[in-house]
């Protein structure tokens, strides 16, 4: 998966969780949880969906790396 695929995957997952928002308009550095009003259940669902779609385990200790769009793309591209 290249960076663009990952970005689209993140958008896809986020639009399922926050259907009223347009994640493509988000700046790469804002906290997704604040910008999209994600609670801890929403964020867990975000992590579950990402880890299933790209078959990667995301340890809880790494959650903070996924708080921004840029951070999530960089983390998942590795």
């Amino acid at each position: 998966m290249n960076e663009s695929d990952i970005r689209n995957l993140i958008f896809d997952v986020l639009s399922g969780i926050a259907p009223e928002a347009d994640p493509t308009k988000l700046a790469g550095t804002v906290d997704l949880r604040a910008a999209l009003d994600l609670d801890s259940m929403d964020f867990l669902n975000f992590v579950i969906a990402l880890s299933k779609r790209i078959s990667v385990n995301i340890p809880e200790a790494d959650y903070p790396k996924l708080f921004t769009l840029n951070g999530a793309i960089a983390y998942l591209a590795k």
Binding site: A18, P19, E20, R33, A34, D37, D39, S40, M41, L44, N45, V47, I48, S51, K52, N57, I58, P59, E60, A61
Partner: protein, 392 residues
Amino acid sequence: MSDFVMPSLGADMEKGTVVEWRIKPGSAVKRGDVVAVVETLKGAIEVEIFEEGTVAELIAKEGQEVPVGGVLARITRPGETAPAQPAPQPPLPATPQPKIPPPIISVTAPSARVKVSPAARRRAAERGIDPDRLTGTGIDGSVTLADVEAAPAPTPAEAALPKAAKPRWGFEPSEMRQAIAAAVSRSKREIPHYYLTTTIDMSAALHWLQAYNKERLPDKRLLPAVLALKATAKALRETPQLNGYWESGAFRAMERINIGWAVSLRGGGLIAPALRDVDRMTLPEVMAALRDLVARARGGGLRSSELTDPTFTVTSLGDRGAESVIGVIYPPQVAILGLGRISKRPWVVDNQVAARPLMAASLSADHRASDGHTGGLFLDALDRLLQEPDAL
């Protein structure tokens, strides 16, 4: 023969609209069957029946608005024979079904927001129609399921039009607001609340949780809320005076511990459906039930009993909320627990100040049903139980 009536799905409900029957005359029903989908101010709810028998007659029609207590259907009980003639129809307390004129698709986008019933919105999505562009024939000009069914299929040009921004599912935020207003007004008018607060050191619980989650894939992990819920249920076992209803001037304790979990809805609004028998579930079971419940609260598919079953409510602000919350009791319940955001703050441990993850817990309780002493015992039990997460 018995009447199946429009259930009251909370202190704030006065009426509902039957949007879909799941039974027909002759259908056998048993306790717990979903028999209809009813639209309320809180969205479309799957309504269950609580008796056994055979459907003799459907009284309410799809699309019809019926007040709470109004007859929806007649049920023949087991052993009864259906009457030779249909029983005389009771006077319908509801508004008559309006005649449905052919819908027109307006060329311009409506200036004001059009009311669209949840069922109509879903059906419109299936048909590729923008329901906000239809002319409604329902009460207050709302777009009903029938309007959507009768609308012509979209032309390619219409299908290409941008859709008006709207929540994907559900409820009308303004109507939901009214429902909440009615419930909290009644609560503050009728219930003499008393309030207790305490601060709970969550180190042990979070430490346990971290170790638990570390060994599991994301979909098997638990949230701190799960520990708090289970501890709440066990604490309620010790203080049954807080688990039940204030009815007809007296407290009625409930055997089952069904915790209403306050879920904030996107687009505004709040609903607190029940997690049933939390005291008897394992932590992974509580987590699975919580995920399912929150998903259905936000996406549709709550059942009527889930709105009426809570015997106690928990409102939790999660990991980004305020430091503490003091809740408003949802009548006829007699208490609500408010959990603030867990955050690191100074705390005295062994005569030393240490940074600890702390959670403010508050209890609002009905002073008619219990006294502060009972509330204090409950918060003490909650604290104690959260210090031993292994035993939860």
